[in-house]
Structure formats: C-alpha cells, structure tokens
C-alpha cells in the first residue's frame, strides 16, 4: 500500500517563481571604467561629513517614544500612582520586575485607594526594554523615560529600588505618605481632577 510511503506536499510555488525568474548568467562583466567608479565612491566619501556621533561629548537626541529607563509617576499632590498590583511583573517577559504590595492605612497613605507598592525593584541586568510593563500598568504609574545611561560597574547597583525609580517631587507635591485630597477618592485621582496638594494634606493624623 502506497499510503505508508512519504508523499511530497504538492505546491506549485517553486514552479511559478521559476517561470518568472530570469536565469542567472553568472558574473555579468561590467566595463573597466564602470569598475573604476567604485574608487570614486570611496574617494568622494572622504570629503563628506561622517555620520559618527561623538557620544560621551555629544549626547544623541533619542526618538520621542524611546524605551529608556523606567519611572514611577506621582499624582499632582505627590501620592504615588503605583497600586502594587504586580501586573507589570506578570507582563515582564524577562522577569525583571519584583513588586511587593501593601495596604494603605490612614497612617501610611502612599497612594490613593487601597494598596501601594512596599517594594518595587527593576533588575536592569534582565530588563530588555520591551515596554510590556508599561502597557500592562493600569494607572500609568510606570512609564519609560528617554534616559539611556544606565550602565554600571556592580551587579547590585543595577537592581533599581523604588526610590531610584520614583519621579521627583515637583512644585505643589508633598512627599507621601499623606492623606488623600479632602473629599476625593481614587476615582477622582484617576480622572486627573486633583491638580495640586491641599494644605490639610500635610497634617499628620
């Protein structure tokens, strides 16, 4: 029985391609002077401006959506956006992110809502800068900056802690922990209705 024999898969793709192709005739001899054109190419190139960017002295402009080092953002009153959900860690294909969540309490309100990240580490020895963590983040807490000078001389230094990753406090921001804006809840924060901190937020409860 022929069924036991291996049968080639029928496809006319090769025949079709062969019908269209022009048979190669080996090396097409080009004229002597045509070959000399190459010398002119290299000679004239010498007087063009080199493409080299003198890197340490001249920092190249990166593209607007460059995948640089990460940043943990804050709301306008200084509370952290990160809610410690670990979605970034789950999305990470290189297993570079480690998050430990913790519940917010009235004494320790780090982010609006229920939870915040107690520990947040990114291991830049593992990170491949794919940006899947940024896509996964539900609160836009994690974004990437255009900073690319991350190299260092110790493995330990390349595990960045939460303090290293957190965005700096800008004007009108208070360092957490502090209570949420009076009368606001995490929905208000999420919708971006909080524009600055309130004097009462500084009060230690």
């Amino acid at each position: 029985m022929s069924g036991s024999e291996l049968q080639p898969k029928r496809s006319d793709a090769i025949e079709k391609a062969a019908a269209q192709s022009v048979p190669a005739t080996g090396q097409e001899p080009s004229g002597f002077f045509k070959q000399l054109q190459g010398f002119w190419v290299t000679f004239s190139t010498m007087f063009k401006k080199p493409l080299t960017i003198e890197y340490p002295e001249v920092k190249p402009e990166v593209q607007p959506r460059f995948h640089g080092r990460h940043q943990l953002n804050r709301y306008e009153d200084g509370l952290e956006k990160c809610i410690g959900c670990e979605l970034c860690a789950w999305a990470c294909p290189a297993d570079a992110i480690y998050v430990e969540g913790e519940s917010n309490t009235s004494e320790n309100q780090v982010s609006p809502g229920e939870r915040h990240a107690k520990v947040y580490q990114i291991n830049y020895l593992r990170c491949i800068f794919c940006g899947l963590c940024i896509e996964a983040c539900p609160t836009r807490a994690l974004t990437m900056t255009s900073e690319y000078e991350i190299a260092d001389d110790k493995r330990e230094k390349l595990i960045w802690e939460k303090e290293d990753l957190l965005a700096p406090l800008r004007k009108g921001m208070l360092p957490p922990p502090h209570p949420m804006y009076p009368g606001a809840d995490h929905h208000t924060y999420y919708r971006g209705e909080i524009k600055e901190s309130h004097p009462s937020q500084e009060v230690k409860q």
Partner: protein
C-alpha cells in the same frame, strides 16, 4: 660608479651607524603614522571618524596600541615548536628593515659636517638585494605558519608564502625594463637615470604591474587572502599574541612602506622633485628632497588604503590566475618590446622602422584582446547550458533554473 656611490663610500663608520639608527627610527615612526592614517582614511571612506581619542587627532593611537600589545599575555601553544615559533616573528621584523639600506631618501645633504646622501649604502646590485631581503622575509611567514602547530596558521602560511613568491616574480620582471633603461641595478643610478623622464611615464606598463604586484607581495587588500577571516581566522599569525604579534604587525607595515619607497625610487625619481619644481631641491640645504620622497611614499601608501577601502577580497584561485596568467606573461611581452626598441635605437634603426614596430605591437595587442573577448563570450554562452539533470525525486527539489537553462 656614480657620484653618490662614491660619496657614500667615504662615509665614516659613525655616520653609517647614525644613518642606520635614523632609518630604524624613521621606519618605526612611519609605521605608527601609517597605522593611524590608514585607520583615519578608511574611516572617512566609510563615513566614520576613526581613532581620535589618544593624543591630538588620535595621533598617538599607534603608540597606545603598541603598549597594549606589549602588555598582553604572551601565549605559546602547546603544539608549537618553541624555537621556530619565537624565531619566525624575529625573522619577519628584522628582514623588513633591510630594504631601506639601499633606498635613497634625499639628494645631496650635509649631515654633521659630512657631505652625504641619506642612503645607508649603494650596492651595484641594490635592487636585487631588496628582492633577496624580501625573499628571506617569506621564511618568517612560512615558519610562523608551520611552527604554530595548528591548521589555520599552516594553511595561511602556505597561502601567504605562495602569494608572496608568485608576486615576487611579477615584481622582479617589472624591474627588468627599469634595469634596461638605467643600465644599472644600483638605486642611485636608477634615480639619476630618471632625471629627464620618470620611469612611471616611460615604462608605464612596468609601473602598473609593479604597483599591482606590490599589493600582492605585501599581503594587502584586495590580495589579503592569507588573512581571510572567514576562512583562515588570522592566517599565519593566528596563534601569535603580544609582542610577537606586534612584530608581525610592524613587519607588515614596514614592508608596505618599503615597497612604496622602492616604487618611488624605481618609477617616480626617488627624492627628486616633480617636474617643474626642480628649484625646491636645493631648499634647506638639500633636505627638502626628503619631503618629496616622503610625499611620494605617502602617495603609494594612500593607494594601499584606497584599494583596501574600495575593493573586495579576491578568491585565491582568481588571484593566482591573475598573477601567473596575466601579470607575468604581459610583463614578459612588455620586456621583449622594450628590449627590441632599445636594440633598434642602439643599432641606428630609422624613425620609420621604430614607428612601424610600435604600431605592429599595438595592433597585435588589440587583435589579441578582441580574440580573448570573443572566446570569453563563447565560453560564457556555453556555460549557460547545463547538462541534462536527473528528474527530481523527493525530497530533493528540482533546480529552479533547470527549465530556462535548457531553452
């Protein structure tokens, strides 16, 4: 004996020693500059900048590389023949300097109160001596390849030496016409014989063949098959590291400068000024001629770099075919033509005779070229038709062009 040769003969011993030292210093310095300028020029040809960090414009890059090489670990493979392994780079690096002994680098100058020429000695067979020195240099290559006790260096060493030897023949033949013109093998006589016209003009075919074969002789791109990375790693010096590798490196560059200097001497009038600028020869008490010889040498060096930046590497068989089947026969034919023309003028042949002989030669060359072209075309036509191939049987698919080729 020429005026210069007589002048060189009465050089005191100390002056000869000083000159030897100067030649050595010049060669090492030129090598450092050559490495730097080659890297910078090739970089510019590739829209890069090249080394620009060490010293002003990166000028000290060669020095930094040398120090780095010297401080590296010196490995000797277990399978290597220790004595020969150590001897080989020494042979290479010491013979490469020898050629400079007979190369005139200035006209008449005054050095420490002695009237002399910047040339160590003037042998009556100067150019043959250079060829001999270059041949001894081949031992360095072949011994390095053999003593490494490894396959790639052995193959690379064989390739290199085959290449150097074959191209030395073409090179030596291109000297013959020069010897006939100058009626001497001494370098100073050859320079003196070019006072009217440079040999590069008079003996243009010899010049072209020499320039091609000097690239082959020094194992440089596009003839650097001995270090075809994809096939042979580094060629004969694959197993070498540290200072021993540095010696090979030095030898390669000194050889490049040596063949360039030889080309300058034999074909571009050595240290004499280009036509129309003869008055510059007396500047700085004659020392300005050194600038001219360096300018010419650098011109050849630039050619080396330019070739490297432009041409891809040849295949080994193409390279050998080119050397043996094109350069050598063409050279021999050219020598016969030169010899005939010389004999005709010596025996007082009429202008008409000489002109008709030249015309006949040109005609013969044209006919030969046409015949060659047509035979090439015919063989190419034939190559397009492949023999009947067996029907494809699974799992081997049909050759894609099989049908078209048969048509």
């Amino acid at each position: 004996m020429s005026e210069y040769a007589a002048m060189l003969l009465d050089d005191p011993i100390w002056l000869i020693a000083v000159k030897g030292l100067m030649i050595f210093a010049l060669c090492v310095l030129l090598t450092l500059m050559a490495i730097w300028s080659e890297r910078r020029i090739v970089a510019r040809m590739q829209l890069r900048v090249g080394p620009n960090r060490v010293g002003p414009f990166g000028l000290l890059q060669g020095l930094a590389d040398g120090v780095k090489l010297a401080l590296k670990e010196d490995l000797i493979p277990k399978a290597a023949d220790r004595v020969v392994f150590i001897l080989a780079p020494i042979i290479s690096a010491s013979t490469c300097f020898l050629a400079f002994a007979v190369i005139p680098m200035t006209g008449k100058v005054i050095l420490f109160g002695e009237e002399t020429v910047m040339q160590l000695t003037d042998l009556p067979v100067g150019v043959l001596y250079i060829l001999a020195a270059a041949s001894v240099g081949v031992y360095g290559i072949v011994l390095a390849g053999w003593s490494s006790g490894s396959t790639y260096p052995l193959l690379g060493g064989l390739r290199s030496s085959a290449q150097v030897i074959s191209y030395e023949i073409a090179m030596g033949l291109s000297f013959v016409a020069v010897f006939m013109c100058a009626q001497s093998m001494s370098t100073s006589d050859i320079v003196a014989a070019q006072s009217q016209w440079w040999n590069a003009v008079v003996l243009f075919p010899s010049f072209v063949i020499y320039v091609i074969s000097m690239v082959g002789e020094t194992n440089r791109a596009p003839f650097d098959l001995a270090e075809a990375e994809g096939e042979l790693v580094g060629g004969f010096h694959t197993e070498y590291s540290s200072l021993k590798f540095a010696l090979f490196f030095l030898a390669e560059y000194v050889n490049i400068i040596a063949v360039s200097a030889l080309a300058t001497t034999l074909f571009l009038g050595g240290p004499s000024a280009p036509p129309g600028l003869g008055f510059t020869e007396s500047w700085l008490g004659g020392w300005f001629t050194f600038v001219w010889s360096m300018v010419k040498v650098f011109g050849f060096f630039f050619l080396f770099v330019w070739l490297r930046g432009t041409l891809p590497r040849l295949r080994y068989d193409q390279f050998m075919k080119f050397g043996w089947k094109v350069l050598i026969p063409a050279n021999i034919a050219w020598i016969i033509v030169v010899a005939t023309l010389r004999l005709m003028t010596q025996q007082g042949a009429s202008q008409f005779m000489i002109a008709s002989f030249t015309g006949g030669v040109v005609l013969a060359v044209l006919i030969a070229m046409t015949l060659y072209e047509s035979s090439k075309k015919r063989s190419e036509e034939a190559a397009r038709y492949l023999p009947d191939l067996p029907e494809p049987s699974f799992p081997v698919p049909a050759l894609p062009t099989r049908k078209e080729v048969g048509e």
